[in-house]
């Protein structure tokens, strides 16, 4: 497995907030160390109408954690007869991760959503559930250092949906181009109060 288990499969996710909108992007590579196996493995799922959860890290735990989260969210909506808010999704992820404090899931969740359908909510956490909530952008993955530099430079507050899409796409594309373990295509979701658009970016296939 190597010395860095979070870099065994590779992959990156970034989420950004704009004016009444959020965008989240993920690369599409499915790799095993230096060998790329698949090109259609997004690390982000839309878990309910107003929330996305991205899980870069060890991809087996990405899939297992998505399944656990989906199960808990469905049980919640059956019991409470309402949808889970983004903040509640984040708290649930936090507690699911800390349950495994001494044998953790090797994922670093990135959560993006619209509270009440309008107010952007962003949250990131480490593999044992230490959360960070912020108003600008959150990111995780093997390209994190490159993404930080680009996002810090390019992000501005109150971007509308189209500009937010451009900014997040440029950050993602240029960051994964410098990372051998992430890339092979990118998928970007943009959520506004009216709709969600998903687009695949034309990226370097290496």
């Amino acid at each position: 497995m190597g010395d860095n288990i979070m870099a065994y499969n590779g992959g990156s996710v970034i989420a950004m907030a704009g004016k009444n909108c959020v965008a989240i992007a993920s690369d599409l590579r499915y790799g095993i160390q230096n060998h790329t196996v698949g090109f259609d493995f997004p690390k982000v799922q839309r878990v309910n109408e107003h929330t996305f959860v991205g899980l870069p890290g060890l991809l087996t735990d990405t899939q297992t954690f998505h399944e656990k989260l989906n199960y808990r969210m469905k049980m919640y909506s059956l019991r409470e007869n309402r949808e889970m808010k983004p903040q509640v999704v984040a708290h649930m992820c936090e507690s699911l991760l800390y349950e495994r404090r001494f044998g953790p899931y090797f994922v670093e969740p990135v959560i993006a959503g619209l509270e009440n359908g309008t107010t952007p909510y962003l949250c990131a956490m480490d593999l044992i559930g230490a959360t960070l909530k912020t108003q600008d952008f959150v990111l995780a993955g093997t390209s994190s250092q490159a993404m930080f530099g680009l996002a810090e430079t390019l992000w501005k507050p109150d971007l509308d949906a189209d500009h937010l899409f451009e900014v997040i796409s440029q950050v993602m594309l240029n960051a994964v181009d410098r990372d051998a373990l992430a890339g092979w295509g990118c998928r970007v979701w943009v959520m506004t109060p009216e709709k969600v658009t998903v687009r695949d970016l034309k990226a370097r296939q290496d």
């Binding site: 790329t36 196996v37 698949g38 493995f41 087996t60 990405t62 899939q63 044998g103």
Partner: protein, 195 residues
């Protein structure tokens, strides 16, 4: 080290596996069949430690049969792949199996599909794939020559190309390969392990 690969064509999937069983420097047998029939329209190509390989795959096969007897319903390929992934993932943190898998199947809704599952239980639907050392040699070859909706002759020719590449360049490749195809009519053995 086992070599297995799979290639999907129009409405069918081909799986191939080497047939040698070795322990350190000794070749124990050269007619081991590493492609198991899960049911009439599903095949499992298995690579990994011998005991884990047969035990895990028989376990999956028997549980699929049990599901069929209990519920009178054959699982789709996608459902069987997800079930397999779940079993591997549950065992991962207590009693892990060291098995890499390719699951190929045909059903009415999806047509033919091929799933790549590695020993850590990450899974992806792929048009073609190879596990282990074979992956290093064949990924580029399959990228270059695979196209969507290839017919049977084309896929068999591509499989031959792959096998020749492994025979030529992979030090630990077996000489003999078994090849099976699954399509709407079921499973056909193109080349058996003992031939």
């Amino acid at each position: 080290m086992d070599s297995i690969f799979g290639i999907s064509g129009r409405d069918f999937v081909l799986l191939a596996a080497d047939t040698s069983q070795a322990r350190s420097i000794v070749v124990l047998k050269t007619d081991e069949d590493k492609i198991m029939k899960l049911d009439d329209h599903k095949l499992f190509a298995m690579a990994g430690e011998n005991g884990d390989r047969t035990a895990f795959c028989e376990y999956i096969q028997k549980n699929l049969h049990l599901y069929y007897y209990r519920n009178d319903l054959k699982l789709s390929t996608r459902a069987a792949a997800n079930y397999t992934r779940k079993e591997l993932a549950e065992a991962l943190r207590s009693d892990p199996y060291n098995v890499n898998l390719l699951l190929a199947g045909y059903d009415e809704e999806e047509g033919a599909s091929l799933y790549f599952i590695d020993y850590l239980s990450s899974m992806s639907k792929v048009p073609f794939g190879a596990h282990g050392y074979a992956g290093f040699f064949l990924s580029g070859l399959l990228d270059r020559y695979w196209q969507k909706d290839m017919d049977r002759e084309q896929v068999l020719a591509l499989a031959d190309r792959c096998i020749n590449e492994l025979r030529t360049r992979l030090l630990v490749a077996g000489n003999n390969f078994t090849i099976k195809i699954v399509d709407k009519d079921g499973i056909q053995v193109v080349k058996a392990a003992s031939s």
